[in-house]
């Protein structure tokens, strides 16, 4: 689905519903790069996209709209982040229903989550001994925290991709990416310190959270996740509508407007 991305994306831009965001650009160059542009060049593009080819189509205005609050604060290697982005996009792809994980800001959502208490499991029980493989039914048993699990898991995905295709995970076509994700999901891949299915489930769940949580957390960009689902966001209450026979569809509002905005 995502491999025919460029065409769809162009159409979209022609319709001009959205700004040319950095992610959109990233994704396009990622697709364009598939097999053509090498990793090094792509790396260069990524660290500073608006100084390369795209500069032509980038005016002051677009630059001003560049979302400055989006930068990696947890992931250091851009390869890890690109792998993450590509994987989330396969889990929640862009299609005729609307934007996918990348456009919704999910990779940055995950980056922020991993930088916080949740990523370091600081409110979970983290004392040993540990035995992540001792039981199928005891939930999280890893010594690794979630942030470390993401790093270990994503790097294992990159390794598997190199072993099987001699290519970066994010350069593979969607089907090949899916095959690797499926092998993790089914628990078939050996990963240090955890079960591969535990990592996959963490990745899947976090992706969905990034699509649908309040935009305050960096995902669900412009409430587009909620728009697709016709979810109205936090409201005072539904006292007057709760008995309605028909579906009540309202444009979404975010926590920020619920709290009165301001400051």
């Amino acid at each position: 689905m995502a491999n025919n991305g460029p065409v769809n994306n162009k159409d979209k831009q022609a319709n001009d519903k959205k700004d040319v965001s950095r992610r959109q650009f990233l994704k396009n160059s990622g697709y364009a790069a598939g097999g053509v542009v090498g990793g090094a060049l792509l790396g260069g593009l990524i660290s500073n996209p608006f100084q390369t080819e795209e500069t032509a189509g980038t005016d002051e205005n677009t630059q001003a709209k560049e979302p400055l609050q989006e930068a990696r604060t947890f992931f250091s290697r851009s390869e890890d982040f690109q792998t993450l982005a590509a994987a989330t996009e396969r889990i929640y792809p862009e299609n005729e229903n609307g934007p996918g994980a990348i456009e919704l800001g999910v990779p940055y959502f995950i980056d922020k989550q991993l930088a916080g208490f949740w990523g370091s499991n600081s409110r979970d029980y983290t004392k040993g001994p540990f035995d992540p493989k001792a039981s199928d039914t005891h939930g999280f048993q890893s010594k690794l925290n979630r942030g470390e699990m993401f790093l270990v898991g994503l790097r294992r995905m990159q390794e598997v991709s190199q072993e099987q295709h001699e290519e970066e995970f994010f350069d593979l076509d969607g089907e090949a990416q899916d095959d690797i994700l499926v092998s993790f999901e089914s628990g078939d891949v050996g990963v240090t310190g955890m079960r591969s299915e535990t990592f996959f489930e963490l990745l899947r769940q976090t992706t969905i959270e990034g699509v649908y949580s309040d935009p305050a957390y960096g995902g669900n960009k412009d409430m587009q996740g909620w728009e697709m689902m016709e979810y109205p966001g936090p409201r005072m209450g539904w006292m007057d509508d709760i008995e309605a026979e028909d579906f009540v569809s309202k444009a979404p509002k975010s926590l920020r407007s619920y709290q009165g905005g301001g400051l």
Partner: protein, 584 residues
């Protein structure tokens, strides 16, 4: 060395519904009370303007921080228990008001049959009906005796209800009328009626109208805002201790509340068989304090109540090998054998499922308690069948896909968007029994932040759990079919307990009764062998009834408060021990 403080009349450990009720009653009675709560001093304003699904439903902000303490869990006596490490699998309240702040509000009384389940089962079906491995016990109190305490709790909480046509007569009507009816609930009720069942609107702790309780506390009308279960209420409309009993207690100068006070021991004088107070840590400073008191009340939820007795070496620890000992025995509760049922996907109907309230729902009790003939069934008791309209957030609604939909990818996206508001779940919430092989003790390996052993749960299903769940799923399926769902999917009944402690329905371990050989506390929740120690909460349930636990916890807390006053006036044991025929 712990710093010794001035002695008080009563010290209370943990302030949820149970500790809050005892707080209010003791404060009103003019006793000098200190209440110790490990969590933050939360106020109503902490829950205003924070309608945030990720923070509360997925990151469990309101639940216990497990970095200091959790429990360990295993199925069998010869297994090594592993810690329950994340709040996805361990949902216990903390902060002032406890789990009683983030409860949903579903309110059921237990049935007369359930309080006398052993005697009545034997009367009706003979002793052979009770499986050999099951510790089936009467509660040592009858529904008739419980009625006035239920009534008192319901009035304090202002519960909005409708009389269940099958339930026993109530002395008084519900304090406020039922919540509104939604199209989904109507569909359920009509289907149930067509099947000759008796649907009614669930009694709710989310109030249908503004209400002033007998203590003078006001609870507001519910806005159906949906951010209810696992959240605190934005509007002061969900009945909880922060809106009711805690402010009542705090109106009295003889009542003192200390938060961030983590109790580690009950102090105990073995010669006199008396509790002398408790030892706690101020979690902000790390300082230790000794709080002496004439009466000690444990109301720190089932896990803490059990663990504090074990750490303090009070009462005899239950040993499954010899089947002797009493503390930790009959650990029970509704785990993942409860809440199984049937899911319906509707192609032509789209429900406003993002609207709702924690206990907005409808139920039938035709398959509850002994309301149906069990002669040819391979289980005892029953439960309610419920349809709830909690009001779901977007993350949660994205799970509404049929089983053959992949859990990710384009097809997932398509189907989840399509079915987000076309999916209704009904479930059966059967009772959960106690067995000789299910119990609590201290873990030999894992420790808390102070170096004390964690509590260890050993729990596996009996055949009853699987049989009753299968029966319930079939009944749910019939109703869902009558409701006209296009796709019906029945929940798979799990073979074994999966160590996921969600939903807050875990009980037992310090159970009540009238026989000290099979119970730790009498029907005032006073310990049989320590007259000035009261252990209040779900820890007292000999087995779990076929409904949500909180009203029974609230009622028993009022009963205990009455007992504490009696004890302070007259001293001694408040109940006479009886010998039952049952061997432990």
């Amino acid at each position: 060395m712990a710093k010794k403080l001035d002695k008080v009349d009563v010290v209370i450990v943990g302030v949820g519904w149970a500790g809050g009720i005892v707080s209010a009653e003791m404060a009103k009675a003019g006793k000098k009370v200190v209440a110790l709560e490990r969590g933050e001093h939360k106020k109503r304003s902490d829950y205003i303007g924070v309608k945030d699904e990720l923070r509360f439903d997925n990151r469990y902000q309101i639940m216990q921080d497990l970095s200091g303490e959790t429990i360990t869990s295993r199925n069998n006596i010869d297994e090594t228990a592993l810690p329950v490490r994340t709040r996805t699998n361990m949902q216990v309240g903390t902060d002032l008001g406890g789990g009683s702040v983030h409860w949903a509000g579903a309110t059921y009384r237990y049935w007369p049959y359930e309080f006398e389940i052993r005697s009545q089962t034997i009367d009706r079906y003979g002793e052979d009906k009770i499986p050999e491995d099951m510790n089936l016990q009467d509660w040592g109190i009858t529904y008739e005796e419980m009625e006035k305490y239920y009534d008192k709790w319901e009035k304090t909480a202002g519960i909005s209800g409708e009389q269940d046509p099958l339930a026993p007569e109530r002395e008084n009507p519900w304090p406020t009328p039922p919540l509104k009816e939604t199209p989904g609930l109507k569909l359920f009720k009509e289907a149930a009626k067509n099947l000759d069942l008796h649907p009614f609107q669930i009694a709710a702790g989310n109030l249908s109208e503004q209400y002033e309780n007998p203590d003078g506390q006001t609870i507001n009308a519910c806005m159906y805002c949906s951010f209810c279960t696992r959240h605190g209420c934005d509007f002061g409309a969900k009945s909880d201790p922060l809106q009711t009993v805690i402010p009542t207690a705090l109106e009295h100068d003889n009542y003192e509340l200390r938060t961030r006070a983590y109790v580690r021991r009950v102090l105990y004088d073995d010669d006199n068989k008396k509790a002398t107070g408790v030892m706690y840590v101020d979690e902000r400073t790390g300082e230790e304090f000794e709080q002496p008191a004439d009466v000690v009340v444990l109301s720190g939820f089932a896990f803490t109540n059990n663990r504090l007795l074990m750490l303090s070496d009070i009462g005899e620890q239950y040993d499954p090998e010899t089947r002797e000992g009493i503390i930790g025995r009959n650990f029970n509760g509704q785990y993942n054998s409860a809440f199984n049922g049937s899911k319906g996907f509707f192609e032509d109907k789209k429900f406003n499922l993002y609207m709702g309230a924690g206990a907005l729902g409808a139920a039938v009790n035709d398959y509850a308690a002994d309301n149906f003939d069990h002669a040819d069934l391979d289980f005892i008791g029953g439960g309610a069948i419920e349809l709830r309209q909690y009001g779901f957030g977007a993350i949660s609604s994205s799970n509404n896909v049929p089983k053959d939909t992949p859990s990710w990818g384009a097809q997932y996206k398509e189907d989840s968007l399509h079915y987000a508001y076309r999916t209704l779940q009904i479930w059966y919430s059967p009772l959960a029994m106690s067995y000789w092989h299910n119990y609590l003790d201290l873990d030999p390996t894992y420790k808390d932040e102070y170096g004390d052993p964690l509590l260890r749960a050993t729990y596996k299903f009996g055949d009853q759990e699987r049989n009753i769940a299968k029966f319930g799923v079939e009944r749910c399926h019939e109703i869902m079919e009558e409701m006209g769902a296009d796709i019906i999917e029945d929940d798979e009944v799990p073979e074994e307990f999966d160590h996921s402690f969600t939903g807050g329905h875990y009980t037992g371990g310090v159970v009540m009764g009238d026989d000290p050989e099979t119970s730790a506390v009498n029907n005032y929740l006073q310990m049989w062998d320590v007259d000035n120690l009261f252990v209040v909460g779900g820890s007292a349930f000999p087995q779990f009834g076929g409904h949500h636990p909180t009203p029974t916890i609230g009622a028993l807390a009022y009963r205990a408060a009455e007992g504490i006053e009696k004890y302070m006036d007259d001293g001694g044991q408040l109940a006479e021990a009886k010998r039952q025929t049952q061997k432990a």
